[in-house]
């Protein structure tokens, strides 16, 4: 019976010294432990970068505020953006992939457990380096501390001439190191999914989470590498006298932009596709129906993966490309909205005719659908190059991408945590605290980011440490800042919930949600070897087949 742990009778368990436990965790190569380490690491940075955001919002509460100096503000928005993307978003999604993929495909671990650990510690080194900049190195003008060049680090602002200290170098090195970690994890995910599936799990029977992580990992390979290449070029410029982005020698600032966004755009799809995976696993369970249109969902994701590699210059609509290039990128940007929209419709189709249970994971999923719809539509507006010439580089864009990243990614991560926390820890998260978290966060989110679109429409550019009165931006900014604090309270409740439930939550059992994928067939938490005997599957929902032997999925696929 593969769901039962191997029981060892008559063994005494004495408590171990905490150093031993610490050592075990620091040297683990078990995918579940590494998954937890990634997730905890990312949640820590969520709080750090969240505090950075709160300081930014305080500074922007009214015009001509001087809560922080311009130098500090510029470091804050650089650190906030870089941390959220590279040290919160990527690690938390890699953490979930690490934890869930082997369990969902019936494997005992990832294909390369030691590479897994190595990649994780590379990411940690990257995060550590990035924040070490706060205390390390002093270049000219005391400018040598935290990165302050924006998370895109545009040339030639990053040249030695304009950034004489080490702020750019910390940005470059931290991301180069964690970038290699990401590539390692991506290779591991692909090898695991292609080579370690349990018997019977053909690619067309894999859970969508596995499929979408496969696409995401492929995209990491192709798009993180251009960033690494561009960063190597930047180091060559700054330290070996190179001229890649040196305008005085004929170099091109626009070339950096192309290289960065060839990474940067697929990166945001890398962040959202695992969140689509969470939706595709959670919505069916709480609608009590299989995902609507499994093959179309796979095809749409693969399509997004490819098309998203061709849209990058919509981040450069103000740069002065000719009208043919701008039109091309308008077309591809709008086109990538089609498979994305199809996915939203398919989730809707899953809920349609179901028996929806509004438990906390499902509440976050519904918020995701609503918010990602809006985010996609403002994305269509930004994709129209002519309209974008007004909207780009303004707070409209800031509102749009926070809608996708906070209203999309963060909310989906919350859904995933509420859904899989019972599996990971063996305890249920508190439902009441969860609902408070949900409502406070969603209300705060909308207060902040719905209103934030308007200053953009009223001409407020990005990355300004203060602004002029009389432009109509003051009240809107104040309300946005208030919303930020409401979100912070929501997150505080979430952290409290995580901690309290770990010790006092209801015992979860194997399958608290009555779900259908393989991870719910083992104990909570799973034994270190995952499955006592390797499972054999005959359909996309092996546990449905077991629970409904009179009407198994295998009959319909």
């Amino acid at each position: 019976m593969s769901s039962d742990a191997i029981v060892v009778p008559n063994v005494e368990f004495t408590s171990r010294p905490w150093v031993d436990t610490l050592h075990e965790w620091l040297t683990t190569v078990d995918h579940k432990r590494l998954g937890i380490l990634y997730i905890v690491y990312a949640l820590l940075f969520l709080v750090v970068a969240g505090v950075e955001a709160l300081v930014i919002r305080i500074q922007l509460m009214h015009s001509h505020n001087n809560f922080v100096s311009p130098q500090v503000f510029n470091r804050l928005f650089t650190m906030h953006g870089t941390t959220m993307v590279f040290f919160m978003g990527m690690p938390i999604l890699f953490g979930f992939a690490n934890y869930l993929v082997p369990l969902m495909i019936g494997a005992r671990d990832m294909a390369f457990p030691r590479l897994n650990a190595f990649s994780f510690w590379l990411s940690v080194l990257g995060g550590f380096l990035f924040y070490f900049s706060l205390v390390g190195a002093n270049g000219l003008y005391g400018a040598g501390n935290a990165p302050d060049v924006g998370w895109w680090a545009y040339a030639p602002l990053t040249a030695r001439a304009f950034s004489p200290g080490h702020s750019t170098d910390y940005w470059t090195l931290a991301l180069l190191v964690s970038g290699f970690g990401s590539i390692g994890t991506a290779i591991n995910i692909i090898a695991t999914i292609l080579c370690m599936r349990c018997p019977g799990m053909k690619l067309t029977r894999m859970p969508l989470l596995a499929w979408l992580n496969l696409v995401m990992a492929g995209m990491v390979l192709i798009s993180v590498s251009p960033l690494s290449a561009a960063q190597i070029m930047l180091v060559i410029d700054r330290y070996l006298g190179g001229h890649f982005f040196d305008a005085q020698a004929g170099g091109s600032a626009v070339l950096w932009m192309h290289f960065f966004w060839i990474f940067g755009h697929p990166e945001v799809y890398i962040l959202i596709i695992p969140c689509f995976a969470f939706m595709s696993e959670i919505i069916p369970v709480f609608s009590r129906k299989p995902i609507f249109g499994y093959p179309v969902m796979v095809a749409a994701t693969v399509c997004i993966g490819f098309v998203s590699m061709s849209v990058w210059a919509h981040h450069m609509f103000s740069v002065g490309m000719n009208s043919y290039a701008n039109s091309f990128f308008t077309l591809t940007t709008m086109a990538v909205g089609v498979p994305t929209g199809i996915k939203i419709f398919n989730w809707l189709g899953t809920m349609w005719g179901g028996r929806i249970q509004l438990k906390v994971p499902m509440l976050f999923c519904i918020a995701f659908l609503f918010q990602f719809l809006i985010a996609g539509l403002t994305g269509v507006m930004l994709g129209s190059a002519a309209f974008a010439s007004q909207l780009t580089l303004s707070y409209f864009v800031v509102a749009h991408f926070h809608y996708t990243l906070v209203g999309g990614v963060v909310v989906a991560v919350f859904a995933a945590i509420y859904y899989w926390y019972p599996k990971i820890t063996g305890r249920m998260l508190n439902e009441t605290l969860g609902k408070w978290h949900f409502w406070l966060f969603v209300i705060g989110f909308h207060l902040t980011f719905d209103l934030m679109h308007v200053p953009g429409l009223l001409g407020m550019p990005r990355r300004i440490y203060t602004y002029e009165p009389g432009r109509g931006w003051d009240t809107l900014n104040l309300l946005s800042s208030v919303g930020a604090f409401i979100q912070a309270i929501g997150i505080l409740l979430f952290v409290v919930n995580l901690l309290i439930s770990y010790f006092k939550g209801d015992k979860a059992g194997n399958d608290p949600w009555d779900a259908w994928t393989l991870e719910w067939s083992v104990s909570s938490p799973p034994p270190v070897y995952n499955f006592a005997s390797v499972p054999v599957v005959a359909s996309r929902r092996p546990l449905w087949d077991l629970k409904h032997p009179e009407d198994p999925d295998s009959r319909y696929e």
Binding site: I187, L194, V224
Partner: protein, 195 residues
Amino acid sequence: MSAMTTPFPGTWSLPYRGKVAMAGLIIAESAIFTIFVVAYLFYVGKSLSGPTPREVLETPIFFTICLLSSSLTIHFAVKSLERGKQNTFVSLWVVTIILGGLFLFGTGREWHRLIYEHGLTISTNLFGTSYYSLVGLHAFHVTVGLVMMCIVAAFALANRIGADQSRRIDVLAMYWHFVDAVWVVVFTVVYILGR
């Protein structure tokens, strides 16, 4: 739950994870090289000063032949190992290392000539920057490959490599073929198109 462990009818075979992982690494490295190639091509003819490719580059035909033949020798080395012919494997493997080493020597010699006879360095002009970066990145990958191959050679000479390890050695051979393929592209871009 026992229904979930009934044996799978037929055989269930999946690709070898070493090969899949190496394929993934090759894809990622190809993306890095593509960016350097794009930068090189973009900057062709745009240097504001200094020596041009036409003035200073000499086509390294001999060393290219060395590198490309090393792909042949490594291929046959792996084939011999699969058939259990240890000695042939070791000889072909060592020849591969020598050919790769020759290529590196040739690169080094060319760079010496460019720097000391023509004054072309990475900071001279756009051509210098993009040339040394691209060729240097490739040479770095050759070096890493040679180091790995020397480690394998050491194990082989200690009689630790048999037909059982042929899959792993094949993975390293994949990497080496990739390095050669990249050279074909770099050679075309730098010595043919770029002039």
